[in-house]
Amino acid sequence: MILAQVIVSGLLLGAVYALFSSGLTLIWGMMNVVNFAHGDFVMLAMYVAFVAYTLLHLPPLVFVPLAAALLFLLGLFVYAAIIRHVTRGPMLAQILSTFGLALLLRYTAFWIFSANFVTLPDTLVGGTVAIGGLRLQAARLLAGAVALVLTVGLHLLLTRTALGSRLLAVAEDRAAAQLVGIRPDRMQGLAWGIGAASTGIAGALIAMFYYISPTVGESLALIAFVTVCLGGFGSVPGALLAGLAIGVIEALSAYLIGAVYQDVVVYALFVVLLWFRPQGLLGQA
């Protein structure tokens, strides 16, 4: 029974990993740019939730969409102000630009919020929910469920709508997309907006039960990179599967071996998988 409890809470956190990782995979899939600031986007969203709650007393129902909207705008801005220009430059410029952005965001957070760890009160979405003998923290259940629905929603957006077709068309061939009247810059900007909004929602959701600090983005970025590699670059279903798997592996190894070793197990399994399947679970060779 405890094992089931561990697995389910792993799945719930994994769904949140899947959500922000699918934003990373979308940006990569659209333009082959790795957003090294992705984890710091999540960190910003967590602070949006923190400020919205502590200063303005806004409930999650308000601060989650608020974080999504603000991060969406940040994504658009980063694309228009930085990425659009550096993609014409050498590969190294692209890598360093998002890496520099990560540092800028991280140290701005240090400056404003100091290095202290903060948390939102766990009464925010209080209590536990009992489902079939499992007792789940309501905040985690909410976060996992919302993240799962939105990740699946992103996949449906990409595969079932005109907008999704346009995004995929630009992802595959910018010049060919232009031939059918698609503005590639708009689509790539939108991909950054959506990718960043996914971190906005994910960050605001985990802020309800996770510690918040200026460096939290570092470990979350690593999780996102592993998730994207594991799932296959550019694949949202892959990110979903990999995110859930990593959530469960983390939770199981924390339970069976000890919380200190959970990262070791995740990365060891990751290296082993890459050995046999370098394109990831659902990636194309």
């Binding site: 005109a162 346009r166 068309a169 059918v180």
Partner: protein
Amino acid sequence: MPPEPLLEATGIVKAFGSFRAVDGAGLTVREGEIVGLIGPNGAGKSTFFNCLAGDTQPTAGLIRFAGQEVTRAPADAHARAGMARSFQVPVTFEDMTVLENVMVGAFLRHPHRRDARERAREMLEVTGLARQAEARAGGLGTPGRKRLEIARALATEPRLLLLDEALAGLNPTEVRDAIGFVRGLHARGITLIVVEHIMEVILSLAERAVVFNQGKVIAEGVPRAVVDDPAVVEAYIGRSLAGRRLRRRRNPP
């Protein structure tokens, strides 16, 4: 007053360094015409064609299409304004299916998925690709991908279609079929500009031929009259391949 022409290009110059690939060329196309662009290799017709389509920005000149100035507009603005093109080497979304390729085109005028799919299926019928709808585009041969490119272009519902050597590499039977196909497009009300090396195609298809040489338009008119123009004959002679083809055409058996 006659209606405004669909396409009007004046004084087009495209310079690469000190070399002027297009040197003051112009073209006016009225709605419903089929215009052929011909000329020896390196005459600048392809560069001119790319300027019209928005794939290359002219160094100087003015291009108006359907009442708007599009001289420096990108290719996507041309598509939205109602101009579509094909390439000598077809450009398709290779990882998508044939149907998906055409649907991406249809979304330009039909934002709803069901309408777009219906429109795309129609275009696959027109281009004879209906049976390959679910095949991966990258798996089609070059002739198939040329058809696919045209199907996708048609799905954007263009008023003007630019065909760049669409018939190159086809055997005589396929060329005959393709000529019939292009006539069919014209019958649907689409204005056409056709760049073609094969003189037969221009003679049997175009209502008007525009001859390029050294970046300039050296002759223009009814195809059969144009090929007899001394300036045109001179432009082709000495360019052995094109010259032979032209002479053969002028002395029918």
